[in-house]
């Protein structure tokens, strides 16, 4: 795929994702807005994929080493913390359990 074809394709899915995001979120009741914030927070932790690609790339100098490593640490904290804290919150939303 040529560079410009790829770019157009990427922009297309970007724009579709905007509409999808708005569509999905507008169905979430305000009762769950805190878990929604922390849940979307966990989802952007997918940046860990980018961090891994940087740290796991070949032929890298010390600069990329350090930057990539810190990025992986930060992104991993984002992923694990985000999902765990959201799970803790959602676990508490129950119907009467008596």
């Amino acid at each position: 795929m040529s560079h410009s074809t790829l770019l157009v394709f990427e922009v297309t899915i970007l724009v579709l994702a905007i509409f999808l995001g708005i569509e999905v979120i507008s169905k979430v009741p305000s009762m769950l807005h805190t878990p929604l914030m922390s849940g979307t927070n966990a989802i952007h932790g997918v940046v860990v994929v980018g961090a891994m690609l940087v740290l796991g790339s070949g032929h890298k100098g010390p600069f990329t080493w350090i930057v990539g490593f810190i990025a992986v640490v930060l992104a991993s904290a984002n992923v694990v913390g985000g999902f765990v804290v959201t799970d803790r919150m959602l676990e508490m939303f129950k119907k009467r359990d008596k």
């Binding site: 009741p29 009762m31 989802i43 932790g45 860990v48 991993s76 984002n78």
Partner: protein, 464 residues
């Protein structure tokens, strides 16, 4: 693993993320959705791991262990009342990671013959910029909410000018980079400048408005991640990042609407300061008589009511009284009283925060009523019990055009037969705004610490 296979597997990740958000539409299966998202994330990590082909595998393991370990411990230990700052912290580190990826990508591309293509250059600049703002801004928000620094808006002369000058400097550096000036230090200047901008941008915003800021910064991080996807040609980053970017933006706007304030006003209004003068103006209206009663009297009133609605505010969370309220509610239900909770969208320290706190106290979620469902019910309510809430039940928001909160949608507790307000003293609330509800003839005040008052009420109801 071929490019196509890995992208198909990443597509599975994307689908799980969308489902995770979709499942959040109902508390009954929201948790399953979140777990599905976590599985999707795991798939993405494994696929990426295979793609790196074992290069520097030990560094990856070490980095993920440190970060993941910290995240897991922090997430397990955090109290539910401290949730806003936890979200700010996790949001910030995500933004920081996105900014670092930009630095590394530019460093990798620059030695290649020919400057980076304009679109890649633009993605690097914007992702670095937005990621750095999000990182630094979230850290300030965290510090404010954790009370490491004062929650009051910090303002100084020429603030807007300094911010504007800084922003122009950042913009110039960014344009130069995109236009093909091949100097790596420019991106450093840009990232550092953006971080400084993030700090200066959040400092003047008051603690009460932090949730809006966090939601906005959440959208920023999402956007930075999506732009990172352009740098790395990664669909999963583009789609997931933009999902978060769109949802964060929408949520920010919804919160602004719930407070009847424009986002510009929240970000640049330094609200805590403005309201000090407004309170001085409004203070003249007070001066009616205030009726107070003993816990015994109110206990009788509650026990013989048909329908009681609790209106919890942040004061309830501060007093850690949510468990005691639930116990009181259980006692009333045993006596045949219909109990529910009316929750304003901005009660607590972030949207929906009060619901989480009450859920933690084992309140079944069908009893938690959102504002639009709760308001028509008040006219059929015998007693509305306001615990630690103030501005969200202030009738001035409906009637008094001079009030700083005029136009904000509120819970119409004054439609109930009787309103009981639990309050420490007659001091005005967090935003310093006078509340005529307290002078309403329907209103009975019960002065004292919220937790102690609730416990006392529960004892008296039990004794009946």
């Amino acid at each position: 693993m071929s490019y196509n296979v890995s992208n198909l597997l990443y597509l599975i990740t994307i689908v799980t993320f969308i489902l995770a958000l979709r499942f959040l539409s109902n508390p009954a299966h929201a948790r399953r959705g979140n777990q599905l998202g976590a599985i999707g994330m795991l798939i993405a990590i494994v696929v990426t791991w295979i793609k790196t082909g074992g290069t520097s595998w030990w560094a990856l393991v070490l980095g993920m262990a440190i970060g993941g370990g910290f995240g897991a411990v922090a997430a397990r230990r955090v109290k539910m009342t401290a949730m806003p700052q936890m979200v700010a912290l996790f949001n910030g580190v995500g933004g920081g990671a996105a900014a670092l990826i930009s630095l590394a990508e530019l460093h990798r591309i620059l030695p290649d013959p020919g400057r980076p293509k304009v679109d890649i250059g633009l993605a690097i600049v914007l992702s670095g910029l937005i990621g750095a703002i999000s990182f630094a801004g979230s850290m300030v928000a965290f510090a404010k909410l954790q009370e490491l620094i004062g929650g009051r808006p910090i303002t100084y002369a020429g603030q807007q000018f300094v911010n504007a000058a800084l922003f122009i400097a950042i913009a110039v550096a960014g344009i130069a980079l995109v236009a093909g000036v091949q100097d790596e230090w420019l991106l450093w200047v840009l990232t550092a400048g953006a971080a400084l901008f993030g700090i200066l941008f959040v400092l003047p915003i008051g603690g009460a408005d932090m949730p809006v800021v966090i939601s906005l910064l959440n959208a920023f991080t999402g956007l930075a991640v999506a732009l990172g996807g352009f740098e790395l040609e990664s669909n999963v980053l583009i789609v997931s990042g933009m999902l978060v970017g769109a949802s964060g933006t929408l949520l920010t706007l919804m919160m602004g609407r719930a407070m009847n304030r424009s986002i510009t006003n929240v970000l640049f209004g330094a609200f805590g300061q403005v309201s000090a003068t407004a309170a001085a103006v409004a203070a003249g209206d007070g001066g009616g008589t205030v009726r107070s009663a003993t816990a015994e009297d109110i206990a009788v009133m509650l026990a013989y009511a048909h329908k009681v609605v609790f209106v919890p505010g942040y004061g309830l969370a501060v007093a850690q009284a949510q468990h005691d309220v639930r116990q009181l509610a259980d006692l009333l239900e045993e006596k045949g009283v219909e109990v529910s909770y009316a929750i304003h969208p901005v009660a607590g320290r972030m949207p929906g925060h009060m619901n989480v706190l009450l859920a933690e106290a084992n309140v079944p979620y069908p009893q938690l009523k959102e504002m639009d469902d709760a308001n028509p019910e008040f006219s059929r309510t015998d007693v509305a019990v306001v615990v630690g809430a103030n501005d969200v039940v202030n009738p001035d928001a409906r009637n008094n055009q001079g009030s700083p909160i005029y136009g904000m949608p509120i819970l119409n507790v004054d439609d109930a037969q009787t309103v009981v307000v639990l309050k420490r003293s007659m001091n005005p609330g967090f935003a310093g705004i006078e509340n005529p509800l307290f002078y309403n003839p329907k209103t009975v005040m019960l002065f004292g610490d919220a937790k102690e008052s609730i416990v006392k009420l529960a004892q008296d109801v039990k004794a009946l």
